[in-house]
């Protein structure tokens, strides 16, 4: 009998979709979740649920110590590809000495998987011997309802590091992954208020605004829900317009599957033009206002 260990928080429980796909019995460790989360795990067919109280933060070392006794004999371990999820996956897989595959996209056989590779610029197939840890985007395999009545236990995992403060991040309601049209901004914009140029263009087009990592992470000109790329959101709109974005592989990784790509850049040799259907070599400060006005007239807005 295959037994799959799943590590998830209440907001990443959908990783149980991968456990369902693998088939077998699921032992689900829910980190900082309560009865409601346990019940939801039951709806996705959990055989057993362990509610782990991690305290203020989920410390991988404390978590491992709290559940170590349960991990022998598991054939697969499943983790969500969140920042904490990846950290916990590395620590637990390291303790167990099992290989781990990150960014799994499909199960080809119980011991064979396909995954992203080379910073999402490649697709790899990997075969493993023995137990394996799998790290997966929470929404990659949507779980079906197959209700069970799992036994529920509780554990504590008091962190060995100390959380002394926390700051909430500004959060938007944008779902850039679902956008049909995206106007995306990069370091070619010199000041935060200049982003207005792109926002007005987006409004005329009925598009959402995306951005490169520096715009969200370094400069914080836009919230992180706008961030496109390897470490941001993966998008596949009908049209992706990259304005003042150079086209480094980590940005391309997030927009590769767009249907039509447009690039606006002053540098004729910018790599982005290699990934674009239509490239405009021009200063965005001159080009975008003109494009916006012309589109407004053409579209009758």
């Amino acid at each position: 009998m295959r037994v799959i260990g799943v590590f998830a928080t209440p907001s990443t429980l959908e990783v149980m979709g991968l456990a369902q796909k693998l088939g077998g019995d699921a032992l689900v460790f829910i980190l900082n979740g309560g009865d409601e989360a346990a019940e939801r795990a039951g709806r996705y067919g959990a055989g057993r649920v362990v509610l782990v109280d991690c305290g203020a933060m989920c410390d991988p070392a404390a978590l491992y110590d709290a559940v170590a006794g349960e991990l022998s004999g598991l054939t697969h371990l499943v983790f969500p590809a969140t920042k904490d999820g990846k950290t916990i996956a590395g620590y637990v897989a390291g303790k167990l000495g099992v290989p781990n595959l990150v960014d799994v996209v499909d199960v080809l056989a119980p011991n064979k998987f396909s995954k992203y590779s080379m910073g999402s610029r490649g697709a790899e197939e990997v075969e493993v011997d023995g137990p394996v840890a799998l790290v997966v985007q929470p929404k990659r395999f949507q779980p079906a309802e197959k209700p069970s009545k799992p036994a529920v236990e509780r554990r504590r995992a008091a962190p060995i590091v100390e959380l002394t403060g926390r700051e909430e991040k500004a959060k938007g309601s944008l779902k850039i992954e679902d956008a049909e049209l995206i106007v995306s901004v990069g370091r070619g914009f010199k000041k935060q208020e200049d982003l207005k140029l792109a926002m007005e263009l987006a409004e005329v087009l009925g598009a959402q605004v995306g951005c490169s990592r520096p715009i969200a992470a370094d400069l914080k000109w836009l919230s992180e829900d706008h961030w496109v790329g390897l470490s941001g959101h993966k998008v596949r709109p009908k049209m992706y317009m990259a304005i003042g974005i150079s086209g480094q592989p980590q940005h391309i990784a997030g927009m590769l599957e767009s249907r039509i790509v447009v690039a606006v850049n002053t540098d004729k040799n910018a790599p982005i033009f290699q990934y674009a259907d239509y490239g405009v070599v021009e200063d965005l400060y001159k080009f975008i206002p003109v494009l916006k006005e012309k589109l407004r007239k053409a579209l009758g807005k």
Binding site: P60, K83, P99, M118, G119, E125, V161, F287
Partner: protein, 267 residues
């Protein structure tokens, strides 16, 4: 304070060589995985502030062909030595080709135990450009039995036996205090890595750089994950360049293309 920096000789993903829908790993050049430069920079800054100790870069060569990669990785080691890292140790061995992160982490752990000795911090990048798995630092912490703190955007305090850092997560920033020794990973935003002046590049030629094999580390590695296929993700693009004419003409041309593609429907 002795600081170990993890520096990966990574495949340059902006230069992936491909043939017949395969990624040709052997032909793809190496570069320092970008964020490992941030890790090196942070280590150098801490050493400068703490006035003493040593920074040691540990590198593990993972790609064939081993003889060629040895020279390439050595050049990359010189780059971090020129930045200000004191010493570099390169693990290179045919036995590491085609192994997963288990072997990488064990090799680094053994270097730390057998070649470095006393240390206070291990600093790596949040992710590498090629593997992008973010697994090795946490595995090293697991092997060494010390805390792991990932996605550090700021090191607010370093003392002789503790650090206070800010972790940059999806929804929040956490302020975390940990005992030393610990393993931390830094984000790309933590600093801007210095570009060494020529003089320092020349001086780096004299800094210690050693190569060690798995045998030197007394390590045997198992191969429990095998890559059976590795394809590039490519999408053919039209690559139409609009570069001549006035701004007006360029805009007209783009709108014409966009309506042909059905992206916009002019009235």
């Amino acid at each position: 304070m002795n600081i170990v920096v993890l520096v990966k000789p990574a495949l340059d993903t902006s230069n992936l060589r491909t043939a017949a829908n395969k990624i040709m790993v052997e032909d793809t050049p190496l570069k320092i995985s970008d964020i490992d430069r941030n890790a090196a920079e942070e280590a150098i800054r801490i050493k400068e502030k703490m006035k003493g100790g040593k920074t040691i870069a540990v590198m593990v060569s993972k790609y064939p062909p081993t003889p060629k990669r040895g020279g390439e990785a050595e050049n990359l080691a010189r780059e971090v030595l020129a930045m200000g890292i004191d010493e570099a140790i390169l693990v290179i061995d045919d036995g590491l080709i085609g192994t997963d992160q288990t072997a990488t982490a064990k090799a680094i752990t053994e270097v730390v135990r057998k070649k470095v000795g006393q240390f206070d911090l291990v600093i790596g990048g949040e992710a590498t450009i090629d593997g992008y798995s973010s697994q090795v630092p946490a595995r090293i912490a697991a092997e060494l039995g010390i805390p792991i703190i990932t996605y550090v955007r700021e090191i607010s305090q370093v003392g002789s036996d503790s650090v206070v850092v800010k972790r940059d997560l999806e929804d929040e920033v956490q302020v975390v205090k940990s005992k030393l020794p610990a393993v931390i990973t830094v984000t790309r935003e933590i600093n801007t890595p210095r570009i060494p002046p020529l003089l320092q590049i020349r001086m780096a030629m004299k800094k210690p750089l050693s190569k060690v094999s798995l045998g030197d580390l007394g390590l045997q590695v198992e191969r429990r994950a095998r890559t059976t296929d590795l394809k590039p993700l490519q999408i053919q693009r039209k690559k139409v360049l609009i570069e001549s004419g006035t701004v007006d003409e360029k805009a007209d041309k783009l709108i014409q293309y966009l309506s042909q593609e059905g992206v916009v429907t002019p009235r």
